[in-house]
Symmetry: C2
Subunit: 215 residues, 2 copies
């Protein structure tokens, strides 16, 4: 406990972020609607008043959480110009697997929860739809550029390909939340590699990779 005396603005900002973090954890586990503001506050040793001192309504808190934690799976590997498409997809799948067990697990779960919430809330659906579809279009363009530069083609076309990727990621997240043992890392990587449309998806075909099992 390093610094007890804090300026007011610091303290306010600190509780605000603490509330967002606590809400994120509860939202990820029980969903937006099933999580009460009371539960959020008491999980921090605070009361509902503290929440309403920082957020005008529950909806505003949800928006803040979704904004701060909105981090779809890391698509960096998919845009690497130095790797063939199957390898890029394998790396992407590896990243998804790592996310589901590491620090960004919360972000992925919240991304999923946000989608589920959108299924039952038209306004939220519109809110999400705009940003996400814009992001997909942008990613698809960059992805397409990389493929063209490499002389590769993706099945489905770049945009539909990313939509399909979103679909698979959401399914994977749900599967992991239901039964983390059902889909092993190797199978998950293979699943993503298959989306490249190459028949050699077993992993033996990647030239630089040895058969050493790390983990």
């Amino acid at each position: 406990m390093p610094r007890l005396p804090l300026t007011r603005a610091e303290r306010k900002h600190e509780t605000r972020t603490a509330i967002i973090d606590a809400a994120a954890r509860l939202f990820a586990r029980k969903g937006f609607e099933a999580t009460s503001l009371d539960a959020v506050a008491t999980s921090l040793g605070l009361t509902k008043g503290a929440v309403y001192a920082s957020f005008g309504s529950k909806h505003e808190l949800i928006k803040a959480v979704a904004e701060q934690y909105s981090a779809p799976a890391d698509v960096g590997p998919l845009l690497r110009a130095d790797l063939p498409l199957p390898d890029r997809l394998r790396l992407f799948g590896r990243g998804v697997y790592a996310s589901l067990q590491g620090t960004s697990r919360l972000q992925i779960l919240l991304d999923f929860e946000s989608a589920v919430y959108a299924m039952r809330n038209k306004r939220w659906a519109r809110l999400i739809h705009e940003t996400s579809s814009a992001g997909i279009r942008d990613l698809a363009a960059r992805f397409h550029a990389v493929n063209v530069a490499r002389g590769e083609r993706s099945p489905l076309g770049a945009e539909a390909f990313f939509t399909a990727l979103t679909v698979v990621v959401r399914g994977v997240v749900q599967q992991f939340a239901l039964d983390p043992t059902a889909l092993r890392q190797s199978a998950l990587e293979t699943l993503f590699v298959l989306l490249a449309g190459e028949s050699d998806a077993t992993g033996a075909g990647s030239p630089r990779r040895r058969s050493t099992r790390r983990q």
Copy 2:
């Protein structure tokens, strides 16, 4: 309105199924928890008393709905011994697409809702897990037999293959609920065909198929 005079047992059974059907519709749209028994009853011109005359608790109604409407995607096409794996997967994808717009739409949505509910309810998760994993094991065995008979292999192994299929279907259902226009039928079929691990997933390679668009 053909038959007004009904025996008591008939009447009871009729309202019971009417309640299940109404609940199914509301559950599919708003989820188990967010749907009140009042809403279910009044959507039929009844009151909550009618519900509790047929079901001991909301949980029992949920179970009845889930039981009656539990219909995962039709896997029949996947077990056809007369078709190569890519064609089987294409047919399967076509079936999923048709379901999402036809009569079994409700069933698929409820299957998804059941999975989401399981993410937040350990007891429900166990309930679902047993039956579904048993079903997957059974299907996987039959699928494997067909593949062996045909001299084909599926990537991932039969069991992981079906798990992956479940993953993709759930993602597809969610995507359709969010934005039905984002994934076209052809793209969806291609997505499933890709899971066969064949590079020719465009559909032009299937020998018996003409280029006629049936719709």
